[in-house]
């Protein structure tokens, strides 16, 4: 089956006064129809930049796409002009950003921001657009949608603004929803409600979701498949259960271990990754994670690891999987235990 979105060897760098920063260094992934792919990693890993490159909203310059291919429904979208991309954004693609205060226009009432896109892409009258908008506000669970419709963003709370943004995003019934840390600025209770709305949208319309987050709890709740990104490269990809229960990359182990589970108490130290992410002005030769890796070998410092693929779609970039490497078991304490067996999952 042809994937909805196919990203191949994407490379993005930024020109700065201090030199060139390679933010994304050969990222490849696919998003299939109706699935949620979660890209997880730390800040500076290149999660947001990859997403913005696909949407065609990277500020160029300073950004530059140095290589790679992005196809959406079989069409190469990197070669499209700005004008052509406008037909995708807001219609095929929709985006939910992290910061709802800066992504909504403070000088426009909620209603106008919503109907602008609806009228442009759906070619309906002002009255119908208003009806659609109010209906969308109701769908995201906002009380008194016709009152919210007339208000300015600053008079709404963070959770309400985030819902308005989701309402705008889903009003065009997108096939692919991009969500960049959509709940990071919100309380857990509001976060649960927002994630619920996103899952509902996926169920109702069959939309695909590309979600970027650093919170593994959200990953577990949302993902069908997961891509772990580190220093501008995807280091591990697998289905959600495979990645959580059989992680192979030491960085993934570190991410899993850094979150205290329900049984961990203060007497056991948290499994933490030493050091800090690399300086992307001069990305390290070899594996980018090598300086922080507890299992680093000589080969890791010299040469970037190959991608090791398994039949179930699990692929990992790590020399530990080479047959010449010593066998290393993942630290059992960091890996969550499956609660269901294969049959129950079906």
């Amino acid at each position: 089956m042809e994937p909805l979105l196919n990203v191949e060897d994407l490379q993005v760098s930024f020109q700065t006064f201090a030199g060139e920063v390679a933010a994304v260094r050969g990222v490849s992934f696919q998003v299939n129809k109706g699935e949620t792919l979660v890209i997880v990693g730390e800040s500076g890993g290149g999660k947001s930049v990859s997403m913005q490159a696909i949407m065609g909203i990277l500020p160029m310059p300073p950004a530059r796409i140095k290589g790679g291919r992005i196809t959406y429904k079989g069409e190469d979208i990197l070669s499209k002009s700005d004008k052509e991309m406008e037909k995708y954004r807001g219609k095929e693609f929709a985006m939910i950003f992290q910061d709802s205060m800066t992504s909504l226009n403070p000088t426009m009432r909620v209603g106008r921001q919503m109907t602008e896109g609806i009228r442009k892409h759906q070619k309906v009258s002002a009255q119908t657009a208003k009806e659609i908008a109010i209906d969308m506000l109701r769908q995201v669970g906002l009380p008194n949608p016709d009152k919210i419709y007339k208000r300015y963003p600053h008079t709404l709370s963070g959770g309400q603004r985030q819902r308005v943004m989701i309402a705008i995003a889903i009003s065009s019934k997108p096939s692919l929803l991009f969500a960049d840390e959509p709940t990071t600025a919100l309380d857990v209770t509001m976060q649960a409600q927002i994630l619920d709305i996103m899952n509902q949208l996926k169920k109702d319309t069959g939309a695909s979701i590309l979600l970027v987050t650093h919170n593994l709890g959200i990953v577990a709740e949302m993902a069908d498949r997961i891509a772990v990104i580190y220093a501008g490269q995807i280091v591990e990809t697998a289905s959600a259960r495979e990645l959580f229960f059989h992680p192979k990359h030491p960085y993934t182990w570190g991410l899993l271990g850094a979150m205290p589970g329900m049984e961990t108490d203060k007497s056991t130290e948290l499994y933490s990754i030493k050091g800090t992410p690399p300086d992307m002005f001069c990305p390290p030769i070899g594996c980018a994670f090598a300086p922080r890796c507890a299992y680093c070998m000589e080969a890791c410092r010299k040469e970037a690891p190959e991608e090791y693929r398994e039949e179930n779609g699990h692929s990992t970039r790590c020399w530990l999987l080479d047959e010449r490497a010593p066998k290393v078991e993942a630290p059992t304490a960091v890996i969550p235990k499956p609660l269901l067996n294969e049959e129950e999952v079906q």
Binding site: V188, T189, G217, E221, L256, M259, I273
Partner: protein, 319 residues
């Protein structure tokens, strides 16, 4: 059991809005923290948890109630006594970018407390102390002459911790001290805070909204909702047997890092959000969102009731 270091009874803090409305940010809050222990304070934004921390350190003047620190009443003290107090109580702030003076070098940021309290005899001794503090928080002596902008978020938070430790405090308020950091860096900072606590017998008030980290680091938990503590007790007791409907909703909302968990547990997210704390109506403040609300909840304030092993809750269901 060790002695009680901090005893807070009926603490109140109001803010005036437009001169006529009163926002009761902290309304009759009581708790105690024993020496060497950590109290975790959780709740949604705007519930008053930061205000509690700031009032304890007397950044805000309390409007009522009593704060006893090490047996002494500190709710009404002079400026001079207040200065004495800052030697014993310190704070680590949320934002590692805004909380360090960008015109100061690391040496001066950490050394400021030493200067104010005159904790050294010679220049060399001051330097020595600062190098020692940098070592404690895992930074290098070469970092001393650098400015905050040259550091990453995690390193800045370490500078903030070194600054708090400089005066050898007994009590530290960690106000969302790890929220702005990456997951792997959070674990590093948490490991460091627990180690420091063991080595120096420090007492923490750990304010955060990340419930899994709070559970890991805290001995006791206080759950706040709109200026009031609605549940209080030993950490595991509160997490495993939450009593207040708000605590239950809050805990249920935390996403669990196990893809099977969501398949088994069907969530019913708590609806709505915090209502305005300005001129609140009588009755339980959680009534408008409570899934098990009764008539009495809308008219009468619930009182704190204590069950066994120090687990307290403020709900009409438990009387």
């Amino acid at each position: 059991m060790s002695e009680i270091l901090l005893d807070v009874q009926g603490l109140k803090k109001d803010f005036r809005i437009d001169g006529k409305h009163i926002l009761k940010a902290v309304d009759d809050v009581s708790f105690t923290i024993r020496r060497g222990e950590t109290l975790g304070m959780v709740g949604e934004s705007g519930c008053g948890k930061t205000t509690v921390g700031r009032t304890l350190l007397r950044i805000y003047e309390p409007d009522g109630g009593k704060i006893s620190f090490d047996g002494k009443d500190i709710s009404k003290i002079s400026k001079r006594q207040e200065k004495e107090l800052t030697k014993k109580m310190q704070m680590i702030y949320q934002d590692p970018y805004a909380s360090l003076n960008s015109f100061y070098t690391v040496e001066d940021i950490i050394g400021e407390g030493l200067d104010i309290h005159k904790l050294y005899e010679t220049k060399a001794e001051r330097r020595e102390r600062i190098i020692e503090l940098l070592n404690v928080v895992g930074l290098h002596r070469d970092h001393m002459n650098r400015f905050p902008h040259e550091f990453s978020g995690g390193q800045r938070q370490r500078i903030g911790i070194a600054r708090a430790l400089a005066v050898n405090p007994e009590f530290i308020v960690c106000d969302e001290a790890i929220s702005a950091l990456d997951v792997s860096i959070q674990a590093q900072v948490i490991n460091m805070l627990t180690k420091l606590q063991k080595d120096r017998n420090l007492t923490y008030l750990f304010i955060a909204h990340d419930l899994s980290m709070v559970r890991y680091i805290s001995d006791n938990i206080a759950v706040m909702y709109m200026g009031k503590i609605v549940e209080y007790g030993p950490t595991n007791e509160v997490y495993l047997h939450p009593m207040h409907p708000y605590t239950r909703g809050l805990l249920e909302a935390v996403p669990v890092a196990n893809p099977d968990y969501t398949k088994i547990h069907k969530k019913t997210p708590m609806i709505g959000e915090v209502t305005s704390p300005i001129n609140p109506k009588p009755g339980c403040r959680f009534a408008s969102r409570c899934p098990v609300v009764m008539d009495v909840c809308r008219t009468t304030d619930p009182h704190m009731t204590e069950s066994e092993n120090g687990h307290k809750t403020c709900c009409h269901k438990y009387r």
